[in-house]
Amino acid sequence: MSTVMTDRNANTAIAEQPHPKYKMRTENINVYYGKTHAVQDLTLAFPERSVTALIGPSGCGKTTYLRCLNRMHDMTQDARVEGRVLLDNANLYDKRIDPIYHRRKVGMVFQKPNPFPTMSIYDNVVAGVKLNGVRDRKILDEIVEDCLKMAYLWDEVRDILKRPALELSGGQQQRLCIARALAIQPEVLLMDEPASALDPIATQKIEETIEELKKDYCIIIVTHNMQQAVRCSDYTGFMYLGRLVEHGKTKQVFEKPCDKLTAKYVQGQFG
């Protein structure tokens, strides 16, 4: 792995060529909620154009870790994050960089669908683009169609784009949120149990979406569903009690896990 950059160069990312393979890396991430040490010393790298699944029992810190990757913890006062997150070798936690700058490159889909209730379907998709200053109607129209197609929602909503987003079903809303995340043209997509509240058909649609998006994006997905991890990820990280226990190719983690704990978990013996 290439040498760790000095913070002085973090903002420019020209000083050193980005690692050819890894889009995003984290180094020694520690997260504390008060005295609780929720994520411990987590170092992990995410290759370009791949899907990495994070699995582990409830409360193991998956979501907490995922939220470090776009500095979502800045939104709440209760969490303290230490360590570095490198996106193309630029440190997200550089004090001089406004998190907004990075969040535009790192899209996020939340566990529960959360389309903006006062906006139409159309406005939801382009919310990030429009409120970031893009006003050209033609470009917005294109983005809406593209992103809804990528999220496998276009055919269902093409005639009702002006209707309120809340009229959609839960599964449709979640795909709308994926479209909304894609609209800002991110380079990395974080998904926090995107299918946990959905029925098998909607889940399948979302997994198809992930499969399709993999061609362009680095996707990191937190999931409780191990079959889902097997189906749609290339790499899998198994977390337990705030630590990364095992990380490797999904096939290897599930078929020949190196760690006993991982073996037990993927075989469904606890969790």
């Binding site: 907004i100 959360n114 903006f116 919310a127 409120l131 995340a181």
Partner: protein
């Protein structure tokens, strides 16, 4: 615990449920009954007051009454034109001062202040301000503005009333913004939006209804205040004649009319009271219609209830 023991235990617990049900149903009925009676009790005075105002005030209402200047008592028609005009002016001016401070203060408290020392102090002072008797605010405006300037002015009244308005608006705006689930702020942040954009374009639109309720509440409150106006705009028998002279307002006129021992003044007083109610009601309905109507065309999204 063996299987039979567990079965027995379950049966016992179920038995407890059964003996309880009838009592619970009864309690349920009693509670519902009490609640309904209390709701009615709360509504009766309102209907009574409104009914009396309509019954006693309606005979006074006619075009001359609403648009003319009040003449001398006994000289025939008493009119409240200047009072209506003055009330509209004073509500407008008070809103111009009070609403921006109130709404922006509420945004600060909900989105930026959090539980910081500064924010907590502001909250405390706003709560205290809401309890200050309005006559005190009137005396303050009288001393600080009227005496300094040397003349009664509608600005002094508006400033005194804005002290009543902005604490109500600030606290209700804060509450309304807090009701908006955190997840939408996170969704906005994940799209790379700045905090200001998230607050103004995403959160505020969801809190619109709650903020409007606070605004309308404060407008009603301000529209009906008499005490601060006595010392700041004094009252007047002529139409608005500039910012450097006294002005009339409906609550003042009602108060003055009610002090007079003549029947026609009493009737005119009721007429003025009814007019004030109608103006406040019109503002409520108008503002709600304007801000809460369904953008797609027909119908109201919010309810019209006050």
């Amino acid at each position: 615990m063996s299987y039979t023991e567990r079965q027995q235990k379950r049966a016992e617990i179920r038995a407890m449920f059964k003996s309880n049900v009838r009592r619970r149903l009864l309690v349920d009925k009693v509670v519902v009954g009490t609640v309904v009676v209390c709701a009615l009790a709360a509504i009766i005075p309102l209907i009574w007051i409104l009914g009396t105002a309509v019954y006693s005030g309606l005979p006074a209402l006619n075009w001359e009454f609403l648009t003319g200047e009040p003449g001398a008592v006994g000289a025939g028609q008493i009119s409240i034109g200047p009072a209506i005009q003055g009330t509209v002016i004073i509500i407008a001016l008070t809103s111009v001062i009070g609403l921006p401070i109130g709404i922006m203060g509420g945004i600060y408290l909900a989105e930026y202040g959090g539980s910081s020392y500064f924010a907590r102090q502001i909250r405390f002072f706003l709560d205290v301000f809401m309890q200050v008797p309005s006559i005190v605010l009137g005396i303050f405006a009288f001393l600080a503005i009227v005496l300094t300037l040397g003349y009664y002015t509608v600005w002094a009244g508006a400033i005194a009333l804005s002290f009543i308005m902005f604490p109500i608006v600030a606290r209700s705006t804060e509450e309304a913004l807090r009701m908006v689930p955190w997840t939408y702020r996170e969704a906005g942040a994940a799209l790379g939006l700045s905090k200001m954009v998230i607050t103004l374009r995403i959160v505020l639109s969801q809190a619109k209804k709650g903020i409007l309720t606070g605004v309308l509440l404060s407008v009603s409150r301000v529209g009906g205040e008499t005490a601060p106006l006595i010392m700041t705009i004094l009252g007047s028998n002529i139409f608005f004649s500039g910012f450097e002279s006294s002005t009339d307002a409906l609550p003042l006129r009602i108060w003055r009319l009610s002090l007079q021992p003549y029947d026609e003044a009493r009737i005119a007083g009721w007429g003025a009271a009814l007019t004030l109610v109608i103006i406040i009601f019109a503002i409520h309905v108008g503002v709600r219609y304007f801000f809460l109507r369904d953008k797609s065309g027909k119908g109201l999204r919010g309810t019209l209830k006050v």
